[in-house]
């Protein structure tokens, strides 16, 4: 045991003497989590809170145009402008302003749009009441011209279409009901109440997060991003870990150690202990940053609930998986350069597959199937289970075991490789 402590002392000393490297091991993960969470939070806010710059040219000074304009003005989604340089723009100027990037969207409501809808509805109501089949031709259609910034993403475009469709279909329904009321009043002696005024909504929806128990935890960008980027950062321990192994091998220290009364397993285990401590300390610092620093810079505070024990266990299991992977990389690769390139690219791939960048459920089917092989995916799901879903220990346990088995498999792979190489 004394020999093992001497190895741990040596590994700790080597890590601590590299002050720059040590600082990077803590500063870079903190910077990564802070930056990525802030970015994701800002993106979320730009869509939902800050408002998107929209230029509206309403050439239809009637029900449709005025109603759409009013709803856009009231919408928290858009910051709606109707003028450029204190005057109403032309259609070409709307297109140019969006193309120049001054606005993300330009919407043009054509002249006489409301009247065209009225005429169409009137004609159809008339035909329906006289027993004929209502018909409509292309001349009846109303086209709202929408210009989009070319950098706009598809998902955002779909959201926009949905919003504009919602605004216009409401006023379209109103016009239909107005025309029906008008025609009925022409036919009946007793006037009926304007049906378009009956706009009472009958379908409502109530939104609630399906968590177990009343945890008070509100899913937000912090609750989603802190665990994701923390796992990502922790897995980057693979690079310094593999580097330490390769350095020891290249300078002959490993060979010297192997001629002494100490096993290779003990040499690896001592490094594991030191780097496990580093990983765990990284996790604690990120947690402290999430809970105490985030609110000071305008981000929501990370809510850990009362699951600190399970969180700690998960952090240890994640660190163990990362270090196990580091042992495999450090054993199989021959140079520091090989190790750092392979480790960094493979961690990014495993992170992408694991749902760190984008959620697994929106990935293509074949990627969804592959994603289950990523230990980062197991870690992420288990962290979400703890932080967001308030899961019990028995639900998180498979994730912890999976990560430990992954570490074990990596170490076995490294030992088998080492044995085969030794024999050859």
């Amino acid at each position: 045991m004394r020999i093992f402590f001497k190895l741990v002392y040596k590994d700790a000393l080597v890590v601590m003497r590299d002050r720059g490297g040590l600082a990077m091991l803590f500063i870079m993960p903190l910077a990564l989590v802070l930056l990525m969470t802030s970015l994701q939070d800002a993106t979320f806010r730009s869509v939902n809170e800050s408002g998107i710059r929209l230029l509206l040219l309403n050439n239809d000074i009637d029900s449709l145009g005025l109603s759409v304009e009013k709803k856009m003005m009231q919408s928290g989604l858009f910051r709606t402008f109707t003028e450029i340089d204190d005057r109403k723009p032309t259609e070409q100027e709307v297109k140019d302003a969006v193309a120049a990037g001054r606005f993300l969207i330009g919407v043009i409501i054509p002249h006489g749009a409301t009247q065209r809808i009225r005429d169409k509805v009137s004609r159809n109501v008339q035909m329906a009441l006289s027993g004929s089949q209502p018909v409509s031709g292309p001349e009846d259609s109303v086209f709202l011209q929408v210009y989009l910034d070319p950098t706009t993403k598809i998902s955002f475009r779909e959201n926009l279409q949905h919003s504009i469709h919602e605004f216009s279909s409401e006023i379209e329904s109103q016009i239909i009901l107005q025309e029906i009321t008008l025609k009925i009043n022409e036919l009946l002696a007793i006037p009926v109440y304007d049906l378009s005024q009956v706009q009472e909504e009958v379908i409502f929806y109530r939104e609630e997060y399906a968590t177990r128990g009343d945890t008070g935890v509100i899913p937000n960008s912090v609750q989603h991003n802190v665990p994701a980027w923390t796992i990502f950062a922790m897995f980057f321990i693979v690079i310094p870990f593999a580097g330490a192994m390769i350095r020891e091998r290249e300078d002959g220290s490993l060979d010297r150690l192997l001629t002494m009364p100490v096993s290779h397993a003990k040499i690896l285990f001592s490094k594991t202990i030191v780097f496990l401590f580093i990983c765990y300390f990284q996790f604690i610092l990120i947690l402290i940053m999430g809970v105490y620093l985030f609110p000071l810079i305008g981000l929501p505070a990370l809510q850990t609930g009362d699951n600190l024990g399970m969180l700690s266990l998960m952090a240890l299991a994640t660190a163990l998986a990362a270090i196990g992977y580091g042992i495999a990389v450090g054993t199989i690769t021959r140079t520091h350069q090989q190790a750092s390139i392979f480790a960094s690219i493979s961690v990014v791939i495993l992170a992408a597959l694991g749902g760190i960048w984008v959620p697994v459920f929106i990935m293509p089917a074949f990627l969804r199937q592959i994603s289950v092989v990523s230990p980062l995916n197991w870690a992420l799901n288990s962290f979400y289970d703890i932080l967001i879903r308030n899961a019990s220990f028995s639900e998180v346990f498979p994730g912890i075991i999976g990560l430990c088995l992954f570490a074990l498999a990596c170490i076995l792979l490294a030992l088998i490789y080492k044995k085969l190489k030794w024999a050859s």
């Binding site: 004394r2 020999i3 001497k6 190895l7 002392y9 040596k10 000393l13 080597v14 003497r17 590299d18 300078d251 002959g252 220290s253 060979d255 010297r256 150690l257 192997l258 001629t259 002494m260 009364p261 100490v262 030794w422 024999a423 050859s424």
Partner: protein, 251 residues
């Protein structure tokens, strides 16, 4: 029957490397007697390092048997590791640690502890002229200082057998002299040594028994006097070496 005078007994040692049909060691048999400074010489690629790595337990032989102090290398490696010391050709030290920290780590791993370990470090550093640099980081040492510290790390725990793989390569005359003088002294105190070097004059002066190997086979062996006697007209070990191994370049 075990000869109590034999420290290392090697029988038919053969080693093939993967993908190479020519053996690095080809049925080598030899004995190293207790108290000898055994010089293992040969050109590049002769099989010296392969043999040292096998004797230290870093490489497994394809065939053959090795016993060290009566213990089988195959079955009792853990015990053998306690009685051998290795001074590798590489500077196998942690450059960010001080000389004292390096020795404390290696000594501790070899089983030395507490006061004894500290005393042993305190005793050896001045012998090799490193007492004033004990608390300096090794990365700031000169080549000679590193070589001397590399040597101390191998003999700190007073091994019965010391393997020295080119311990004086690339250092100045002063450092070399200190190392060789101290190796003689350590040998006088009973440590058996297996020594490889390309400096044949050094081997000539230091070794009590010499074996020259080439292409994995022993080509001559004996005391310096015996080798010179067999060589006829050769006047130095260098002449013998060149006459036996040829003058073509080796890689």
């Amino acid at each position: 029957m075990i000869d109590s005078d034999v420290s290392i007994d090697i029988k038919d040692l053969t080693r093939y490397y993967k993908g190479n049909h020519i053996p690095a060691l080809d049925q080598v048999s030899l004995q190293v007697r207790k108290g000898d400074i055994f010089g293992l010489l040969g050109p590049n690629g002769a099989g010296k390092t392969t043999m040292i790595r096998i004797l230290c337990g870093l490489l497994s032989p394809t065939n053959g048997e090795v016993t060290i102090e009566g213990y089988s290398l195959k079955n009792e490696k853990a015990f053998i590791r306690k009685i051998i010391g290795v001074v590798p050709q590489d500077i196998a030290l942690y450059s960010s640690l001080t000389a004292r920290e390096n020795l404390s780590v290696y000594g501790g791993i070899c089983g030395l502890k507490g006061r004894f370990l500290k005393e042993r470090i305190k005793e050896l550093l001045p012998v090799f002229g490193l007492e004033k640099s004990a608390d300096r980081h090794v990365e700031h040492f000169s080549g000679g200082m590193k070589r001397r510290l590399n040597l101390i790390a191998g003999l700190l725990h007073m091994p019965r057998i010391l393997f020295l793989d080119e311990p004086t390569v690339g250092i100045d005359v002063h450092s070399r002299n200190v190392i060789l003088e101290n190796l003689r002294e350590i040998n006088r105190n009973g440590t058996t040594m297996v020594y490889t070097s390309h400096y044949l004059e050094e081997a000539e002066n230091l070794c009590s028994y010499i074996t020259i190997i080439d292409e994995g086979r022993i080509i001559t062996r004996g005391t310096l006097a015996e080798i010179m006697e067999r060589s006829g007209s050769c006047t130095s070990l260098v002449d013998v070496f060149l006459s036996l191994t040829g003058k073509t370049l080796r890689d």
